[in-house]
């Protein structure tokens, strides 16, 4: 028995050594974009440049903040060169925490100014929209609501799913309401949603699933979540809400360069690559149907032109500044 154990131990050590040997990283990226989308793009970069990429992928269970907290904790001895987020607000938090360094990529020149940090700390591209997903079987004949303000009406009582608004893009959306509508109206709206029996679920994916399963007919979620379900043949569709009002919140991917990045040249090259029109096009063609923020980027027919969407007029800095206030209120309101 003892010799058998020794063999097991030896095998383990060998495996450990092999994994450790794979460590000589050339560029390190932490990303919260789903691995199925981000990995092929990082592999394309490896192929094009010969620089090998070491990535840490975030998971939903940690709600895209695991890596943000890791970056903050690693600040004194940074390990990552690039942060590629599927979100924008947390990138701004990192900037405020002194984790980022400015880098203006030449690839970003044609990206509209609203998607770039004024000091060059972050750049946005390939946006998702905060939409309403609805079940076509359940709402087939009646009109789905066109404004989020309809959702507090008795007709939609108990019929709406929403992720716990402290995390992810749902938190960003609530903070955006704070920025656009002001605290008073937003809080009244959230209270009305709660009074109208909104079903709080554990993520945007779960919100989509509740609608796909027909548990509720309507849910707040992101375009990529809905599109995955549409592609899988589920009976759902999406609404870009408030086309006649405050508009739909657009949330871009963001990339940022890290202060004290161990591989700064390679990191900058990766950022240049990620911000290229080709990558934005690839993200539009994959299942996540990210909407290009630049004009003339090649995209499939089902991805709307950015210009055709009535995007909510709000600065991302303004959203970030309201994140904490929004979180504190939502935490109390939805505690039970």
């Amino acid at each position: 028995m003892r010799s058998r154990l020794a063999w097991v131990g030896l095998a383990c050590l060998l495996a450990l050594g092999r994994s450790a040997a794979a460590l000589g990283a050339d560029v390190v990226v932490y990303t919260s974009l789903d691995q199925v989308y981000s990995q092929p793009i990082l592999e394309a970069f490896e192929k094009e440049t010969g620089i090998s990429v070491k990535a840490v992928y975030d998971v939903e269970a940690s709600k895209t903040t695991g890596l943000v907290n890791r970056l903050i904790a690693e600040r004194k001895r940074p390990r990552a060169d690039v942060f590629w987020s599927s979100e924008v607000a947390q990138t701004l938090v990192l900037k405020d925490k002194g984790v980022l360094a400015p880098y203006r990529s030449p690839s970003a020149e044609d990206i509209p100014a609203q998607f770039k940090g004024p000091e060059g700390y972050w750049t946005g591209f390939a946006a998702r929209a905060r939409v309403l997903v609805y079940n076509k079987n359940l709402l087939g004949l009646s009109d789905p609501p066109q404004s989020i303000f309809d959702l507090t009406k008795p007709r939609w009582r108990g019929k709406l799913a929403m992720a716990y608004p402290l995390f992810g893009t749902t938190a960003t959306q609530v903070a955006a309401w704070y920025a656009v509508l002001g605290a008073e109206r937003t809080e009244a709206y959230l209270r009305a949603l709660k009074a109208n029996g909104v079903v709080i679920v554990n993520g945007n994916g779960a919100s989509r699933d509740a609608v796909v399963q027909g548990e509720v007919p309507l849910g707040f979620t992101d375009t990529d979540d809905v599109n995955v379900a549409i592609q899988a043949g589920k009976p759902v569709a999406m609404i870009f809400p408030d086309r006649d009002g405050m508009g739909t919140l657009m949330i871009p991917n963001t990339v940022a360069f890290l202060a004290g990045a161990p591989h700064s040249q390679e990191g900058k090259r990766l950022i240049d690559f990620l911000l290229s029109r080709e990558v934005e096009s690839r993200l539009a063609f994959c299942q996540s149907m990210q909407i290009p923020v630049r004009e003339g980027v090649k995209k499939p027919a089902n991805v709307p032109d950015f210009g055709d969407i009535r995007a909510m007029q709000v600065g991302y800095r303004d959203i970030a500044n309201h994140m904490e206030q929004a979180a504190r209120f939502s935490r109390e309101l939805f505690a039970r």
């Binding site: 450990l16 794979a22 460590l23 789903d34 199925v36 070491k54 939903e60 940690s62 779960a206 939805f334």
Partner: protein, 531 residues
């Protein structure tokens, strides 16, 4: 007998460095105000009314889940270990399966089955003609149900280890005076109290620090508050302060357990003698079978069938496994190494604690249980703070850091598991061996370890299984470019690839089950050798 000093020192050093030091680091950071975005005042650190509400939710869930797990786990262990129930060997293996399915998966399966428009509710509604869903899975009882089913194997595993080592002569003596029912209730079961309490405490700890399952079942619980401090408010100090109630509750529980077991002896003088008694069930046989069958039906068959149905054709398994091979290998090797280190360290720590006296023994015991209920995100942040510095960067940058994380997270569980078995061991056996040889390592290797091997195996398996599914700590300390299997599974889950997630979960389950069978086979096979 005491173990060699160097061994004791090394094991305690592992415990202090891996498990305690990161917590001290966190405490220091929090006290120093590092990471506190706003100026947190003392008043902010007191729990708000809604936080009290959440804490009481969490306590209700943890108490309920551990009570349910004990109510299922102890009878299950007894029936499969000590009766002549037909099929007990199969039952005795299958009960491990729920542990090998991530608890979140249990929750997803049940939430779909029992949702308002789910198949179970539909059927019940049609047959009973009622309008509302009769079973509310999205509730505290729903969470208790899922956690109890997912975690009862902890109780069963440890109780079985205890039952195997109970002194048969005590039972025989009891049987001379009273019937089997009374001797089981008054002699056999009380003798495995350390084991079943340890298992129950595990369930309690997992139920109180985890928010994955309640989150899916739409119940707000206390640990979310800690997570919110990090992810929404970026306030490390408040997060640390909020974790204190969890530590206090768990330590109180450990204290209660110690009080319950005070002044009692669990020593088995005839350890190693094979031939524990199996009771005949008589007419109760079909009831026992029905009990085991329905427990496994709910906790094994239901989730496995649901996952298999979601995974679909064999093709899915082949495809996902191809992509996941590297991460499976990583997870497997890291979990095996961590389980090995942890089991050995736990043995030495538990042994040295038991062989110390009086107040020292009590305080060492408490010390080993302090890191029990630390939420993974806090442990991960503490580990980064401790190890990610120029002097120790070589370790932090290596994959060994994940092993450190697993050891830190699970060492208290392993200590708890081994402790119960060591309590059954009479020190006289070691002392007697000492007369023959002064080599204490040899005594430990040839007398002590073989006698507590079932407790050791249980500890090894518990750490292995937990490490295979670990996500919270490993995500924070895994070096770039290395991927563990849970990270991959949860990533796919977010993407919405239900079929791949289900298939990968089943692959993971099969691999873990194979390891469990191998380890149990090793320890089981040995029994005949020393009998």
């Amino acid at each position: 007998m005491r173990l060699p000093r160097w061994a004791v020192a090394a094991a305690w050093a592992i415990f202090v460095l891996a498990a305690l030091a990161p917590l001290a680091q966190l405490g220091l950071d929090a006290a120093g105000g590092d990471g506190a975005s706003t100026s947190t005042t003392l008043r902010d650190l007191l729990l708000s009314p809604s936080q009290w509400q959440l804490l009481s939710n969490s306590l209700a869930i943890a108490c309920g889940a551990s009570a349910l797990a004990a109510a299922i786990g102890v009878p299950f262990a007894f029936v499969t270990e000590r009766t002549e129930l037909p099929g007990r060997d199969i039952f005795g293996i299958l009960y491990l399966v729920p542990l090998l399915i991530p608890p979140q998966m249990h929750a997803v399966v049940w939430s779909r089955l029992l949702a308002e428009n789910g198949p179970v509710s539909q059927t019940l509604r049609e047959t009973l003609g009622i309008s509302a869903a009769p079973i509310g899975i999205f509730s505290i009882p729903g969470v208790i149900f899922v956690l109890g089913l997912a975690y009862f194997p902890f109780v069963t595993l440890l109780t079985r280890a205890g039952l195997r080592s109970v002194d048969p002569s005590l039972e025989e003596a009891a049987l001379l005076r009273q019937g089997p029912l009374r001797s089981v209730a008054r002699v056999t079961l009380p003798l495995v109290v350390p084991h079943l309490l340890a298992g129950t405490i595990f369930v309690f700890v997992f139920a109180i620090i985890d928010f994955g399952v309640p989150d899916i079942l739409r119940v707000r619980v206390y640990p979310v508050e800690i997570f919110v401090q990090f992810s929404a408010l970026y306030d490390k100090r408040a997060a640390v302060a909020l974790a204190l109630p969890l530590l206090i509750v768990t330590l109180a529980l450990v204290g209660l357990q110690a009080r319950l077991m005070r002044e009692r002896a669990y020593v088995s003088f005839s350890q190693g003698i094979a031939g524990t008694r199996r009771y005949s069930l008589g007419r109760a046989r079909s009831w026992a079978w029905l009990f085991c069958g329905s427990v496994l039906g709910l906790s094994v068959v239901t989730p496995v069938v649901a996952l298999a149905a979601a995974a679909g054709p064999i093709r899915t398994y082949v495809e996902v496994t191809k992509g996941a091979l590297a991460s499976l290998e990583t997870s497997l090797s890291l979990a095996l190494i961590a389980a090995g280190i942890t089991a050995v360290a736990a043995f030495v720590i538990a042994h040295s604690t038991l062989r110390s006296r009086g107040a020292l023994r009590m305080s060492l015991h408490y010390l080993t249980q302090v890191p029990f209920a630390v939420p993974p995100i806090l442990l991960g942040i503490g580990l980064i703070g401790l190890w990610n510095r120029p002097l120790t960067g070589w370790l932090y940058d290596s994959v060994a850091m994940v092993v450190v994380g697993y050891v830190a997270h699970f060492l208290p569980f392993a200590i708890r598991s081994v402790y119960g078995s060591l309590q059954q061991l009479s020190p006289a056996l070691e002392e007697a061996a000492w007369l023959a040889t002064p080599n204490r390592l040899r005594i430990a290797g040839q007398i002590t370890v073989p006698l507590v091997r079932r407790g050791l195996a249980a500890a090894f398996l518990i750490v292995f299984v937990l490490a295979m599914g670990e996500l919270g700590v490993s995500l924070l300390v895994v070096p770039p470019g290395i991927e563990t299997l849970p990270v991959r599974i949860y990533n796919l889950m977010h993407y919405g690839a239900d079929a791949s997630v289900a298939a990968l979960s089943l692959v993971l389950l099969a691999v873990e089950l194979a390891v469990c069978l191998a380890v149990l086979g090793l320890t089981h096979g040995n029994r005949r050798a020393d009998g």
